[in-house]
Subunit: 141 residues, 2 copies
């Protein structure tokens, strides 16, 4: 996985710094969605000298390298997750729980729709919102 990142760096004459190494490791160690801010807090515990600008910059770099993908989840802030097979999200509007899924039939249908409109599809985002099964149905907010 990290091999992809190293290759990306060399191709563009970018440098592998201790900061980038640490950020990459911590990020890949997690197996969930994180915002740059959350990740910064985790990084801080391992090396308090790292600034948050570096975390923002590094996450951008990880996305460019294809190591991370940014899912527009997490309310106002951008969330990242390790780049695996494409999937979409099911999000609980109450507790924030996130479930991942992939529907081949929807993926196919999206392609068909794009073609019908003369678009060359390159990506998509789909999020389903609702109450998960551990959240009580009859209560508000």
């Amino acid at each position: 996985m990290q091999h992809v990142f190293l290759t990306h760096l060399k191709e563009r004459r970018l440098k592998l710094t201790p900061q980038r190494r640490l950020i990459l490791d911590v990020f890949l160690g997690l197996r969930r969605h994180v915002s740059a801010e959350e990740l910064y807090a985790l990084i801080q515990k391992k090396d308090p000298s790292i600034g948050q600008a570096t975390v923002f910059r590094s996450m951008k770099l990880l996305v460019e390298a294809g190591v991370a993908q940014s899912s527009g989840l997490g309310g106002r802030s951008i969330c990242y997750e390790p780049n695996r097979k494409h999937h979409d999200h099911l999000i609980c509007t109450r507790c924030g729980a996130i479930r991942e899924f992939r529907s081949e039939s929807i993926e196919r249908e999206q392609e068909k729709i794009a073609i019908a409109h003369g678009f060359a599809l390159s990506a998509h985002r789909m999020e389903l919102f609702g109450l998960c099964n551990v959240c009580p149905k009859g209560s508000r907010s």
Copy 2:
């Protein structure tokens, strides 16, 4: 349409001000997606005394009243469109063109997926990104 808004106001003892009337009229007059900022610019031409905070507040109110819906399009800023029948979006990554569509089969499949995961679906967002047919395929950005 505006009837819905007036009812919403009365139900909550809110007031119908000239500002809200103008913002509602201009918004409904457009038949496209607008950000609060774009709308503010249009409002300014009709009445330069209206502040942009009022536009932001009013758009929020229109959403609560069910007159407008906020689509998370438009990059960083929230976009609004008059609340019609549910639909999803196809967006050109080059020129920003937006096409609307609705796929019954996808809508059904989303329901099935939510149920399979124990979620009670309340809403969803789906955006397809690609190059539209008037944008050249072989060029970058």
